[in-house]
Symmetry: C2
Subunit: 410 residues, 2 copies
């Protein structure tokens, strides 16, 4: 397991504290990150329905999932075997048997069917159908929205969690550098993506990496006008700007980082945009400290870039840490107007003042930890717009190396 049992138990205690204050007696946890946070459970089984049952008056949660994943629960959690309850395979993707019918039966059998039940209403893996079946199966239960209940517990990290995020930062530094080194006119996007994935996962001699909750985002040229494109077989072209938004992931903990590269000289407008955005992010990082509300970070940003006329319509950032696909964000606080969440030491955010215009964009980002006095970035990587020189002898050498690379891998 990634943490000592005592740390999981402390997380359980904090979760129950929140359950208590929200009048929830039984909490059904469907977010895989929350399942992992409370028990250590770690497997790519979240594509079928599975959950934890946390009861206010029981020490241990119950894991309910597909039969073939019960051994995964035995191997990766601190739970007693009696608390691992498998459902038969006939409940998988069936139009007659829904896993939540099985869950309702279990809850009835253990005397929980009349209680106040919290469900994660807006979690990817808690579908409309899940809720409908639970309501049918447990007509006497009182349902409450417990979306993000555990996510809020996750907001302040333990030192061990910070250590994992620092390791993730080492991984993203490596992946970012290798990706940047390889980007050149004439290189395929997929080859750069492959190299980045290799670096993210092979990691260092000391430790390897886990799969990232978001795949490498590496839009180029016109495609930088939108942030969430992955890659294709297209070749990078001379004059393209390329945005790299990547993460390292260590034991499911993430440290995202974004940078922008120009293949050859950047346009005047990209250069101007990059300068003002860097001024903005630098001012934010200097100004961030414990005791201030999230929205104050956006105020620093707005004040710094006011002179430029640039408008950023999207939020400036969000908390990160433990996660599973499809997102590395924690979905609680946002760095935007109206968010009064007070920053405290060991909170960790991805600060991402990306700007996407109609035909180009620029990103630079940092994952930072709030410290006792200010903040620190987890990765150590220059923030400047990187300018790759025109094809020279050097880059011809790079192309040769690329060919050797392909030969090695084929």
């Amino acid at each position: 397991m990634a943490f000592a049992t005592a740390e999981y138990k402390e997380r359980m205690r904090k979760t129950k504290e929140r359950m208590e204050s929200q009048g929830i007696e039984v909490l059904l946890i469907t977010d895989p990150a929350n399942m992992n946070y409370l028990t250590g459970y770690d497997g790519w089984s979240f594509y079928v329905h599975q959950l934890l049952v946390v009861m206010i008056d029981e020490d241990e949660p119950i894991w309910i999932g597909r039969a073939m994943d019960a051994n995964c629960a035995k191997l990766t959690t601190w739970l007693y075997r009696d608390n691992i309850i498998p459902y038969p395979d006939g409940y998988v993707q069936s139009d007659t048997h829904h896993p939540m019918d099985f869950v309702s039966d279990i809850l009835a059998q253990i005397g929980q069917s009349n209680r106040s039940i919290g469900v994660e209403m807006d979690t990817y893996y808690f579908t409309a159908k899940c809720y409908e079946q639970l309501r049918k199966g447990l007509p006497n239960a009182g349902f409450r929205d417990a979306t993000l209940l555990v996510n809020w517990v996750r907001l302040i990290k333990s030192d061990q969690e910070i250590d994992y995020m620092r390791k993730a930062a080492r991984l993203v530094e490596k992946a970012m550098q290798e990706g940047m080194d390889m980007i050149q006119a004439g290189v395929r996007e997929c080859d750069v993506a492959a190299k980045i994935l290799h670096a993210q996962v092979a990691g260092t001699e000391q430790f390897g990496g886990d799969y990232p909750s978001i795949m490498p985002l590496i839009p180029a040229g016109m495609k930088t006008s939108t942030p969430h494109l992955t890659w294709s077989d297209d070749l990078f072209r001379q004059g393209d700007a390329v945005i790299l938004e990547l993460t390292g992931c260590y034991r499911r903990y993430h440290s995202p980082l974004a940078r922008t590269v120009s293949i050859g000289q950047p346009s005047e407008q990209l250069k101007a945009l990059s300068e003002i955005v860097q001024e903005g992010i630098n001012a934010c990082l200097e100004g961030i400290g414990p005791g201030m509300p999230c929205e104050a970070i956006e105020e620093i940003w707005l004040k710094t870039i006011a002179k430029s006329g640039i408008v950023k319509e999207s939020r400036l950032g969000y908390p990160v840490g433990l996660s599973y696909p499809p997102d590395w964000g924690e979905h609680t606080a946002s760095l935007r107007k109206g968010d009064k969440t007070i920053l405290q030491p060991n909170m960790t955010f991805h600060l991402i003042p990306g700007i996407w215009k109609d035909d180009f964009g620029f990103e630079v980002s940092e994952t930072f930890r709030v410290t006792e006095k200010g903040c620190e970035t987890l990765a150590d990587f220059p923030r400047e717009l990187v300018i790759k020189a025109e094809m020279t002898e050097n880059s011809t050498a790079a192309m040769k190396e690329l060919k050797q690379n392909r030969a090695y891998f084929s």
Copy 2:
């Protein structure tokens, strides 16, 4: 775009045909694979709420999503720009504004609020909260469960789709071979995973690969008792069996493949298990043909392995093709008792008779296409349990190569 506009329009026609027969006037599509299938939309933006509105009496669907992803819709779909409707960023992960409130407003504005509306009730990305907000926002609409409506249209592939799956099969052959070649006692799981990911994405000289909807599953030793473990920094050990369940992905089309490797001589029980499972899968592949129901494949399996006393509690397979994380399966038919879906040419399934016991397991699988007369596997890869020799001069050479590999990548 991955297909001609005519193919997308044909898919729309088939979708409307099903809407008609199910009494659905407006279909809200939240499954990213279904969004891609109908419009080409392709971005890692499914971690925020987004959807398509398909109206029975309108030619084109409407895309509604986050503002920063509207350019992604412009770049990747065949939709007119007027049909791409962005919602402001304040709707993202907010406790006061839900994207489905925005969707309800749009539907009301375009006169769709009193209609019969189909929703994908059991799709990952259609949460309980989505449904609750839509019902509040559209009190006069009649909601119907349209889970899998488009997935059923996807069941029979076009020749172009088959071509993409064949390319995905080339990718998985390569990834499987490179993964197997690298597995040895003393090698870290993460290094093998990194090499596999590299092969999946760098692909061949002719084409690269897309990210797989399920990350490489490579449990070893005791961990083979459960199928959905990814990897760690652990070293493979002499005597370990290792299961590799991988896919290639080309333009979001998948061809999964599973094989098992033994590092050194396998145990008698693993050898016996592998032989009977291979006999079973071979018999199935010989027996499969158009016109038979899905459940008949399981009957062949049961008949073949009856003598062994082996019990497989999980289904034998499921359709595959276009998909996004967290699953490569299509969630419609299943190869199991009671499934009367009739096989037809150009249906494609992942046939996976994996057996997981308490302390070990064995997998071998094939992705097959139903042909006019029988079936064909998309990948060409020996099915035998692979036995890696004890550490010899050869494997010492492999370790040296591994070190060079690490030097190259660092």
